[in-house]
């Protein structure tokens, strides 16, 4: 219990210290607000622009959440396909890596060109950026089987499907969870990048759109608020996935507290 309190207490103290230093520095050096707004300026924006920020956060959360779910489903499906044949795996894997190494900032305008401005493009960017960790981790989990387990299934003449559902998939669950935790953080980054390029036309504009527009308009206090909310959104999604996975993994030997 004591460590649990400490884990919240000490970061909180550090937060207060840092914000205080920030406020003092702005005042002491007389920094212009469009370079570095003071903490109270940012806090003001949270109050005056609360409606805008709320709907922007929800829009970004929706795109990140939906894209993340699509990634998990598509990633696991692709991994199932990969697990069925070494030939498929060999043929497709370089392109899966390609997907990961493509600079998303360069691809996003292309996505807009193909899918138009709006939510669908934002979600597509999210899927592209968060798909890879799921594919690799799920594929590893479905193919790194214990020899003894495989022979056990051979002994009872298990079919391909029985092997998939009774051995490959359950064996991959801890790996899929690891992939999902990595992807959850990336999903929010993807949503912000997507909105940066494609978010201008939506009725509900996301945080990424405001990051772009307020940056140009030198509304730095608003920019700070958007950055803070983006990061917070990533943390929330990460915690949500961790919470769900903790429940799922109770059956498995893996202990998430060690990560």
């Amino acid at each position: 219990m004591n460590t649990k309190i400490n884990r919240i207490l000490w970061p909180a103290i550090l937060f207060i210290v840092l914000v205080a230093l920030w406020a003092l520095a702005v005042r002491f050096f007389d920094v212009k607000a469009y370079i570095l707004p003071s903490p109270s300026d940012v806090l003001d924006v949270f109050v005056t622009e609360s409606q805008t920020l709320k709907s922007a956060t929800l829009a970004t959360a929706a795109a990140a959440g939906l894209g993340f779910l699509i990634s998990v489903i598509a990633g696991v499906s692709i991994a199932i396909l990969f697990s069925q044949s070494a030939l498929i795996r060999m043929s497709c894997y370089p392109y899966a890596i390609f997907l990961q190494t493509m600079p998303i900032v360069a691809v996003a305008p292309l996505i807009v060109l193909w899918f138009g401005f709006g939510f669908q493009s934002v979600t597509t960017v999210v899927v592209i950026i968060s798909l890879f960790p799921i594919i690799t981790n799920a594929t590893t989990g479905m193919t790194s089987l214990e020899q003894g387990h495989v022979e056990l299934f051979e002994l009872y003449n298990a079919s391909r499907w029985q092997l998939l559902f009774n051995l490959r998939l359950p064996n991959a669950v801890p790996h899929i969870v690891t992939g999902a935790r990595i992807s959850s953080g990336l999903a929010v980054v993807g949503a912000i990048v997507g909105e940066f390029f494609a978010g201008a036309s939506d009725k509900l504009k996301g945080l990424g759109y405001y990051v772009q527009s307020t940056g140009l308009l030198l509304k730095t206090d608003m920019l700070f608020a958007c950055i803070f909310l983006s990061a917070a959104l990533g943390v929330v999604l990460f915690l949500l996935v961790s919470l769900i996975s903790r429940g799922v993994l109770r059956k498995w030997t893996f202990d998430l507290n060690n990560n």
Binding site: E151, F153, E154, L155, L167, P170, K251
Partner: protein
Amino acid sequence: MDIPSGGFLTLLGPSGCGKSTILRLIAGLTSPTDGDIQFNEGGTINRSFVFQDPTLLPWRTVWQNVALPLALRDDSNGDGQIEDVLKLVGLDSTHWQKYPRALSGGMRMRVSIARALVTNPQVLLLDEPFAALDELRRQQLNEDLLAIWAEQKCTTVFVTHNVGEAVFLGQQVAIMQSDPGQIAETIAISLSQPRTAALRTEQEYTELVTHVSSQLYRHQTNEALA
């Protein structure tokens, strides 16, 4: 090599002589490059294999692990059978809903044996199942295995490199040598059944262990000299 129906044969030999290979050939996990394996009953035979490791699935409970072979055969009426084999290997119902990680090494092996027995095999193959256990547990499981064999009446082949274990369990002990891997000699063990823990201190048993040990040694030496 001939194994009588319902008999208990132990395969004894040094590491790398092909004991496990013979077992895997009988199990059908490996295909023979030459020669063949015939069963008296003909046709497909119901074979079960107990691996060196318990090979339990960590995400399945004890009960679900034992149920796996039945599930793979789409046999959903095996609850009574599962209960029977779990009791037979000495696991009472307090353990049935536990996950393998909550069990000791000996208990896991018991679950593994129960899983092998749940399909009512005609042939039971065991590949050094107790090698990782301490001596006391190993002896206890040896005694229990004999009791199970007496009740199930399945033809049993047991691979080991422990002479005492081979003599205690087998009706016959087949001694193997390596390079080339072959059966050098089969020794009949005429100790009466049922065999219990008390047997280990009897002269008849210790003499047989000495005899088998010296034969095992002799065959390895011959081959080393050749």
